[in-house]
Amino acid sequence: MRFFTVIVFCLPLLIFAQRKPKKTSIRPDTSYHAPAISLSYFGEQIFHPGIRIGYLLHRKSLIKEKSVTYFLKGGQTFLKRKVKSASFLLSLATYGHFQNHIAFAPNAMYIRKTLYNNSIYRAHGFGVGTTTNLYLNATYSVNNQDQLKRNYLAGRSYFTIPLHFELGYDLEKQFQSSAQIFIRMGAQILSGYNAYILPVLHTELGYYFQIP
């Protein structure tokens, strides 16, 4: 058993052992990146459906390339490429608790993204925003004379801190167009909600495409 465990733990050392010292190059990416539009299903806790539209502005990126030659895999040399980028996303999300309220959440986020070999990418972001919940039912109150006052589409607004983690896939190779699909798990922390906070969890499934 111990022998087997040692073999299992040492296997990656064997697989990734390199025949030549790896070469690394890091350079800034100076090419033009057009702004992109994102469209996604925005589900509050998945079940409360909504939609999000975003405008992504590229800020800067860095290209990191490594060439490695393994002992295994026939001694071939592989080029590993990572593109790290930073961007801003301005977006508007809306989702509904249809027996209760509909929410509008505009926000601005700073996103850090790492693209691996022009295919899979991961990203995370944080930012600031607001969430306005508009009630779908009437809102009543009584005044000092005990008279009834009725408001339609009353609501409450909250300052929001949005956070997310994203996994995506670059479709450029497949479709010769700059587009990506992604799944995003996140939270919007509503501050001052009932005197405290409410982290609203959301799941997104969407698509980025560059403005031609």
Partner: protein
Amino acid sequence: MKKFILYIILGLLIACAKQEVKTKERFFFRNGKADMMVLVEGNISSNTFILLLHGGPGGNGSEYNFGTYAKLLEEQYAVVYLDQRGQGASQGNYDNEAITVHTMAKDVYELTKLLKAKYGTSSSIFLFGHSWGGMLGTAALVETDIQTQINGWIDADGAHSIPLLNKEAIKMFELYSQQVLNQEPQNELWGEIADFISEIDTNNITLEQGGLINSYGHEVESSIANITYDEEEAQMSLFEYVFINPTSPYTSFITGRLTSLGLYNEIEKKSYSNQLYKINIPCLFQWGVFDFVVPPALGYEAYEKVSTPSANKSLIFYETSGHSPMSNEPEKFANDIIAFVERYK
């Protein structure tokens, strides 16, 4: 032929019109910076409303909108399910100083005024509190003018005094742990409870001990064979609560827990025992015999101390119930409320 079609259309219109009798209405009730979700369900045309104050703090009105007892009550009257301030689907922008029993009692009073303004001043309103709702209802009765607005007070296992509740729960734990451990010395839960209560100084019960008394109170219910429970109904209620309920269980859990924490220090020391004499409207006290969460001694005290004449108050015990007789003996529980409401509406 034309006449025949016209009759059919007229018939369909009449049939549709008949079904338009409102049995369910949902709205928000705004009081200051708090917006509270209200669901009015049942026979609204009866003009008799049972305003239900849920338990917790940290619960919500929708938790009570299921099962046999709710169906029986809703057939006769309209039941008003309120999500109290900071709980359930209720929202707002206010600071945590607005999370007090008194503020919440004022919410209840304002809501009764709203119901009168909305459904007519001739409407009959009965206040019905369960568990924590019993404390909130008592607070509204003794700290506001709500008694001028309502026809009666229904207190089901209501916690009007937490210090008394803790002492009485310890007495019940002592009694039952001795009985159980005599028969089953190896019983883990009751052994643990016996050890726990042996270390408590009943004149100085800490907040932490108070929290554990409450937890054990809920936990022991599942070990008492005398308590009846409709498993199928409980499963259906859970399904409806998670998937059909307008209140998101997640949101309700988070906001409810935070509001409960905000109230904790205040309510753990709160006692209305010395103010119960201010209550003089008809009262119905309903208690589960095996309620370890809010022991029956609180029911006795409330019954004895309110100023309501004996003819207009009653105390009913449910022999196979724990903390929630509406789930344990739903028919009897609902029928007792119906008899009370019929008498005083």
